[in-house]
Symmetry: C2
Subunit: 103 residues, 2 copies
Amino acid sequence: MIRPMRAFKHPTPQELTLERVLYALSDPVRLDIVRYLANVPEATCGELDGGRPKSSMSHHFRVLRDAGLVHTRNVGTTHMNSLRRDELESRFPGLLASVLSQR
Amino acid sequence: MIRPMRAFKHPTPQELTLERVLYALSDPVRLDIVRYLANVPEATCGELDGGRPKSSMSHHFRVLRDAGLVHTRNVGTTHMNSLRRDELESRFPGLLASVLSQR
DNA sequence: TCGATAGTTCGATGGTAATCGAACTATGGT
DNA sequence: ACCATAGTTCGATTACCATCGAACTATCGA
């Protein structure tokens, strides 16, 4: 009886709130993650820790996931993260691009 | 020896950080304040409390001021608040408009 | 099946933020 | 001068959040 690895819950675009998205983006670590993900198709969690403990990174990815910014899928032993560009665009048109355009 | 009412400190556009702005906007009460201010030239603090204590409103206005979103000037016994549209636009072009365009 | 690897979850800690009442300050009006 | 009004500041409480180590889970490879 093999149970598959627990899948992550990803909110639908309708479930997203502007406050939650802005809050998720208001942390320097998470903003860096989002900026990084904006330039690659996907990235693993480990690829993004800046020497930080895995548990801290896991926390930030969870916040980003719960806010609807990031999608995580399981690939072997790693977790592949990607920006939910299209869903974000459908729910908050132009918002992500606007934030990412700031320096 | 008359001392004028203590003036508020307003950060310059250069001093603003994206994280701070996004954080200030991530609270429902403050987001409502900003949305309201977007539709009027100026507004007093009292005009915006939704039955909340004055001290709570004062706190939120302070956060918005410190983040650089709101300017407060003294007019008689009241405080007139306005959105710092131009400064915001110069520091984070398009950001405020993008956030305000979301429902 | 035995590591090794990648990441999550748990629990604790410290820091920060929201909230409110109460006291205080400043201004204008009478 | 006195009072009312508008808002700030202070202090306390509560709640939440970032951080980290440690234990746990899942997958792959040997």
